[in-house]
């Protein structure tokens, strides 16, 4: 069992490595490795070669961000599913992503006006607001669970979806008010796109998500206990309140940064954990790294598709939804799902 899991993780890693060059060479401006080689041999300064500039400042950062975001969405999904003891709970389905979007939306629309005058050191205002709104929403969810400890999985999900709708309603108001020039940029972001420019977004996402991955992974065995039985977990020395608060805060930060950078991308966090569990079992020690690799590879694959599927590029969030919905329905009506809904 254990040896098998190591092999599966290795293959998944291999898949990710194989997709990376595809992501670098495929795009609106297709670049063959041969053409890149010629450009490198001419050894012109970087800013004089269009090919090298595209690869260095568009494709590479985009590939890196896509992988990190795919990993982050999946790990966020695994963690929420475990924390809420509900296989359908993810930051996306529980409305946390929507609230983070609302925060980021406000910040982006306010840019170049009164909000940008606020001096916030090194953290973009969009990320900060996204986090504030995300943590606020998580707090509401926690209060709901606290006041109604026997809240059923389905009811909790409906609450999350309703809260998400509320956030989306506010975003609709803002969209309605926004000036057309801003709306063009905002719409692309709102549909979920990993199109980034330069390395600043990469550094930002990496500096938050990599420590978050490691921290969350360190809770693996505690989460195994917690998803098995809360009281047994307590009797084995796990401080439940501390576990919940720590992980909710970490996932909120992770979700906020991802959403502020790429917009809300759905279904990755919902589906990838189930695929991972199908392959490596339910122990979080394996589910986390495997989900991260599958999530990274899946989003990268969707991103490559998004560039080439239609004549013009479309936001990757649309692709993940198009692929995600049938897979999700398959899981929902599959044989393993019955026990979860009881």
């Amino acid at each position: 069992m254990k040896q098998g899991n190591k092999t599966k993780i290795f293959f998944c890693f291999l898949l990710l490595i194989l997709l990376t060059p595809l992501s670098i060479f495929i795009g609106y401006e297709p670049i063959s490795p041969w053409r890149l080689w010629q450009e490198i041999q001419q050894s012109r300064p970087v800013n004089q070669s269009l090919v090298i500039e595209i690869i260095l400042f568009h494709r590479m950062p985009r590939t890196l961000v896509t992988i990190l975001v795919g990993m982050g969405l999946s790990i966020g999904g695994v963690t929420f599913q475990a924390l809420l003891r509900n296989p359908l709970a993810t930051p996306y389905t529980l409305g946390t992503s929507s609230f983070a979007s609302l925060g980021a939306y406000i910040a982006y629309l306010g840019m170049n006006s009164f909000l940008s005058s606020l001096p916030i050191i090194s953290i973009p205002l969009s990320h900060l607001l996204a986090f504030t709104f995300a943590i606020g929403e998580v707090f509401i969810i926690l209060m709901l669970i606290k006041t109604k400890p026997k809240l059923s999985a389905t009811l909790l999900l409906l609450c999350g979806i309703t809260l998400g709708m509320l956030a989306n309603a506010f975003i609709s108001i803002l969209r309605y008010w926004a000036s057309p020039d801003k709306l063009v940029f905002m719409e692309r972001w709102w549909f979920g796109s990993t199109q980034v420019l330069g390395y600043q977004p990469v550094i930002l996402v990496a500096s938050i998500s990599i420590p978050a991955f490691i921290l969350i992974w360190s809770y693996s065995s505690a989460l195994d206990q917690y998803t098995f039985d809360v009281e047994i977990a307590q009797s084995r020395g796990i401080n439940i309140a501390k576990l919940q608060i720590h992980l909710f805060i970490i996932v909120s930060i992770l979700t906020a940064v991802i959403v502020a950078e790429t917009g809300p991308i759905g279904f990755v966090g919902l589906i990838v954990p189930h695929v991972a569990r199908y392959f490596v079992g339910s122990s979080h020690r394996w589910v986390f790294p495997f989900s991260a690799l599958i999530g990274g590879a899946f989003l990268l694959f969707c991103d490559i598709l998004s560039r080439k599927l239609f004549r013009t590029e479309i936001p990757v969030g649309i692709i993940t939804t198009l692929i995600g919905v049938p897979i999700f329905l398959y899981i929902l009506f599959g044989k393993n799902f019955k026990e979860w809904m009881i």
Binding site: P87, I232, S282, W340
Partner: protein
């Protein structure tokens, strides 16, 4: 010999303020099987949770080896006391081996996997509960008896001094009930202290050394061995019903039955 667990003037009430226990006292000696007996809602489960430290005692003291339970860290407590709730609802289907190995949690350094010793203990517990052939089966596919055996193996892997089990016999057929109690008895002979809450009075009297009889108004009516504790008077008071207490023709132990009330 000193008691391993002492409860001194313990009082407890839930948030709504309604007192549950008032001034409860008893002590448990190492290597014994104790049965908590009492009607539904008498507080057996709450008492076990108090002993397990899952819910904190408001007043009074619980002493573990003459040391207050509060002075142990939750990890140290978990290394000494294991608890098994009546019903558990796992979210994801872990395998039998994984579940048993999870019992090693209080002994593992954070971030590390299972050590050689953890594997040995896990295998030993799986063997002890006759689970070898089920090792890789997911929990959701097990029968009721197999589930109970897996859970008991899991808390054994925790290597506690005291095992607290809430209704370990519920939902099992008669041979499996006897088998489970037999396993628990074997454990007490190896030095473990076992406390179980159960409704199966007639079966338990054959195995337990000590009985604590709780009444429907959450008081300890009597405690001690079967003959002095489970008398007709005590049972009548605890359950508000009329009991017959006789001798079992086959086991020569106690035979306890309830008189049928005329309903019409």
């Amino acid at each position: 010999m000193n008691p391993i667990l002492t409860v001194e003037t313990l009082s407890f009430h839930y948030h709504d303020g309604e007192p549950l226990f008032e001034n409860i006292q008893f002590s448990i000696f190492p290597g014994t099987l104790t049965a908590l007996i009492g009607p539904n809602g008498s507080g057996k489960s709450t008492l076990l949770r108090l002993l397990a430290g899952i819910i904190p005692a408001r007043q009074g003291k619980i002493l573990l080896n003459q040391t207050s339970l509060c002075s142990f860290s939750i990890r140290e407590r978990a290394q000494r006391i294991a608890f098994l709730p009546q019903n558990i609802f796992p979210v994801f289907p872990l395998t039998v081996f994984e579940i048993v190995a999870m019992g090693r949690y209080p002994w593992k350094p954070i971030l590390s996997g299972l050590s050689q010793k953890d594997y040995e203990i896990t295998d030993k517990c799986i063997h002890l509960m006759n689970l070898n052939s089920l090792e890789d089966r997911p929990y959701s596919e097990l029968s009721g008896g197999e589930c109970k055996r897996t859970l008991i193996a899991s808390i054994l892997a925790q290597e506690p001094e005291i095992l607290l089990l809430d209704e370990p016999l519920a939902g099992l057929d008669l041979p499996h009930q006897i088998e489970t109690l037999h396993h628990l008895c074997k454990l007490t002979q190896e030095g473990y202290t076992v406390i179980i809450a159960s409704h199966e009075i007639n079966i338990i009297t054959r195995f337990a050394q000590k009985f604590i009889l709780l009444s429907s108004n959450h008081q300890i009516i009597a405690q001690g061995d079967a003959e002095t504790t489970l008398t007709k008077d005590n049972l009548n008071r605890a359950y508000n019903a009329s009991f017959w207490v006789g001798t079992h023709p086959l086991t020569k132990g106690l035979l306890i039955e309830v008189e049928q009330k005329e309903t019409r």
